[in-house]
């Protein structure tokens, strides 16, 4: 069992989770993730590492289904059943490049260790975060610390630029030279960003989130098609070149258990609230 040191709602539906661990920090690198399981009956789910130290690891998660609902109900002092990591391949590091980093929903948190690492390697970091509305943006100060330029985008215009991530991307790429684009967040965001940068021919690295179970390369549920070849998201990724991803396949594979997930959540809520 692993002790919860903190669980804090950062913005509506998005929570920070800090769990005690003295093993994971030793090899943890930017871009890697952990697998967590709330209790003995729980599912194993992957979450990006957003930070780590000698005593703990931190994750940022969005509340959606049963598993994340269970995590959202945790408080300091509670315990979770499983915590394993670091998993996946770390972000490929570059030196002295100009990198445009984009994040949305939980990806704003997931961006944090990556831009920190990019900055430490003397890259020029341009950070842009997006949300539907101002009240869903977070961690601006933390991100600014490692960013040379910083942008906020909201669909309703309540903060920063108004529009979608692709509006911003098109505008920025038209007027600026960039070596690499890096994107963290939901599949729609990674997909849209990749399609927007494609005509510019700028390499675009995206963090993918296929369904996982073991996350060590044992089950193959996380398979994604990259450049026509089947890869395992958990060990060959989770970061891939967005221009090579078979998005249609990824989007449909993420829906395999939609029916069961809805059922699971209503079952959980009935059990919990009667």
């Amino acid at each position: 069992m692993y002790k919860v040191l903190k669980r804090e709602k950062i913005v509506p539906n998005i929570h920070l989770l800090v769990i005690e661990s003295d093993a994971i920090y030793k090899n943890a690198q930017a871009g890697e993730f952990v697998v967590v399981r709330a209790d003995e009956r729980g599912e194993r789910i992957p979450l990006n590492l957003v930070d780590w130290d000698k005593n703990s690891v931190s994750m940022m998660f969005m509340e959606i289904g049963t598993s994340t609902r269970k995590f959202a109900a945790l408080k300091a002092g509670d315990e979770i059943a499983t915590l394993v990591g670091p998993l996946g391949k770390p972000t490929e590091m570059t030196k002295g490049k100009k990198i445009l980093c984009l994040g949305g929903c939980y990806g704003i948190g997931a961006l944090y260790p990556v831009i920190r690492a990019f900055k430490e390697q003397d890259n020029t970091v341009v950070t842009a975060i997006e949300a539907r509305s101002a009240y869903l943006l977070y961690w601006q100060e933390k991100l600014k610390k490692y960013s040379d330029e910083f942008y906020e985008i909201t669909r309703d215009g309540t903060q920063g630029l108004q529009g979608h991530i692709n509006d911003f991307l098109q505008e920025y790429l038209r007027t600026n030279a960039v070596d690499l684009v890096y994107v963290q967040g939901c599949t729609y965001l990674t997909y849209l960003s990749s399609e927007t940068t494609r005509p510019y021919g700028i390499k675009t690295i995206v963090g993918l989130n296929p369904i996982m179970v073991d996350a060590t390369g044992m089950c193959g549920v996380c398979r994604v098609i990259i450049n026509g070849e089947t890869k395992f998201g958990c060990v060959d990724g989770p970061e891939f070149d967005g221009h090579q991803v078979d998005w249609e396949n990824l989007l449909s594979r993420r829906k395999i258990y939609l029916k069961e997930e809805v059922y699971s959540l209503s079952f959980y809520e009935c059990e919990k609230y009667g």
């Binding site: 394993v84 044992m218 594979r253 395999i256 699971s264």
Partner: protein, 466 residues
């Protein structure tokens, strides 16, 4: 005593097929004490037992059987445990027909002594007697061994080394110990409680178990070697193979590992009480002909399928699955399609598999394995409806450890190379055995390798000579 040999094994009672396809409860019930004694008395107590060389861990077979014949069940289990830390497991899943029982003298004229069933009986009897007593442990040698993987191999090394006074820590990637015994082999064939009991025994003997620890990620072997004097790699063959045919990434197509892991380790058959879901297909095709395929097919039935087919490219004769499993499958209504090879999956508008295109085969000349090679019959393609397919065509070792341990010599299937007589790898201080060396093999072979390696590790820890 040998004057009147009973020609047949004492039968073992089983749950009837109609009842068992609706539940994950174990199929055979095991012997009663009376049945066990009757069966034990069939053994001739040969002076030169031919059965023993058939057992990879060299159990004193007439020895443990004699105790049962005399009603001394405690003596019997003690005798078994001298050579085998997992008798309840081996008694159930060993391919006895190819090992100990194959070499029993009785097989010339009659059915062999039911060695496996008797082994299982003794172990199950012990389980009814409360916590098993811990043997007296020798003084600690101060030497530490890291065992990677809590499968049958890793557990055996841990047991053997702790018994001679070395400290052992097992590092296991998953959240439960047991390896394939827990994530792969279903409850109806091997109740998980039998494994947890054995693991619990090891822990009471002082073995430390670290779950949720992926060697190669959480720490590398070189990092472990800073804290440990020796490392045993028993990580199994967990990388699933796919056929690489069109449509294989459609929804509803599983690897055997995913299907079984969801069902067993994650208990998806109890969804929604347990959170992990599994697709409960109605028309299920399982590709492959081994134990793994049989386990998937029988699991699919229990998850409520109307029709489950085993699709195998050779004939019944070449099927690597155990006879007992095939027989159980047949009784339960599994359909066997031999000499058949899937070549393509077709999806519906939501990317769910709806059809499988197959090709009929015939048997040609023998191949490298000595079995007749299946060759396609031109133009024999046909299409059949499926809503779930499980690919159970084999697996190879996971590359995580080799990728992070450059000085470890790897064979052409990604297997770790180890010396047969000692289990030593190319890297000083590292041993390996079981499926990670052999590719998919058996529980008892993994345990045999582990025994060999444990002896070699003990010697190294005592002498320091590599």
């Amino acid at each position: 005593m040998a004057s009147k040999i009973v020609p047949k094994k004492t039968p073992m009672r089983e749950r009837p097929p109609q009842e068992r396809v609706k539940s994950f409860k174990e199929v055979p019930f095991g012997y009663s004490p009376e049945e066990a004694i009757t069966e034990a008395k069939r053994c001739l107590q040969c002076k030169k037992p031919t059965c023993i060389p058939g057992c990879p861990v060299e159990i004193d077979i007439p020895g443990f059987i004699k105790f049962i014949a005399e009603g001394d069940f405690a003596g019997s289990i003690k005798c078994l445990k001298e050579k085998n830390v997992l008798p309840a497991v081996c008694g159930r899943v060993c391919p006895q027909e190819d090992q100990c029982e194959k070499l029993c003298v009785l097989t010339k004229k009659f059915e062999p002594v039911a060695v496996g069933r008797l082994e299982r009986f003794a172990a199950d009897w012990e389980a009814t007697q409360g916590e098993s007593p811990i043997p007296e442990l020798p003084k600690s040698t101060g030497k530490r061994t890291a065992v990677i993987g809590a499968g049958p191999g890793g557990l055996t090394v841990a047991g053997d080394l702790s018994r001679v006074g070395h400290a052992v820590t097992i590092f296991e990637a998953l959240h439960k110990p047991g390896g394939v015994l827990v994530y792969g082999i279903p409850e109806f064939r091997l109740p998980k409680s039998t494994i947890y009991r054995e693991v619990d025994y090891l822990i009471r003997c002082g073995v430390e178990l670290k779950l949720d620890f992926v060697v190669g990620k959480t720490a590398t072997i070189d990092q472990l070697l800073k804290d440990f004097d020796a490392v045993y790699i028993g990580t199994g063959a967990g990388l699933p193979w796919f056929m690489n045919i069109p449509g294989e990434n459609l929804n509803g197509i599983y690897s055997a590992n995913e299907y079984l892991t969801r069902a067993n380790l994650m208990k998806a058959y109890l969804f929604p009480e347990y959170d992990t879901p599994i697709v409960r297909g109605k028309r299920v095709a399982v590709i492959g002909g081994g134990n793994v395929a049989m386990d998937c097919a029988r699991t699919a039935l229990r998850l409520g399928a109307d029709e489950v087919r085993i699709v195998y490219r050779r004939s019944r004769k070449e099927m690597p699955a155990r006879d007992e499993e095939i027989h159980h499958g047949e009784e339960e209504g599994i359909i066997f399609e031999f000499l058949t090879l899937p070549v393509k999956y077709v999806g519906d508008e939501y990317s769910w598999v709806k059809e499988m295109e197959c090709l009929r085969m015939k048997l040609g000349e023998p191949d490298a394995s000595g079995r007749r090679r299946p060759v396609p019959i031109e133009g024999s393609n046909y299409i059949t409806a499926v809503d779930t397919a499980v690919c159970a065509i084999g697996q190879s070792p996971n590359p995580l450890i080799p990728q992070t341990t450059p000085d470890l010599k790897i064979g052409k299937w990604g297997n770790i190379e180890a010396d047969e007589k000692t289990g030593k790898t190319s890297k000083k201080g590292c041993w390996a055995g079981g499926d990670v060396v052999r590719g998919g093999a058996t529980v008892i072979l993994a345990m045999g390798d582990a025994r060999v390696a444990a002896r070699s590790i003990d010697e190294y820890l005592k002498t320091g000579v590599w």
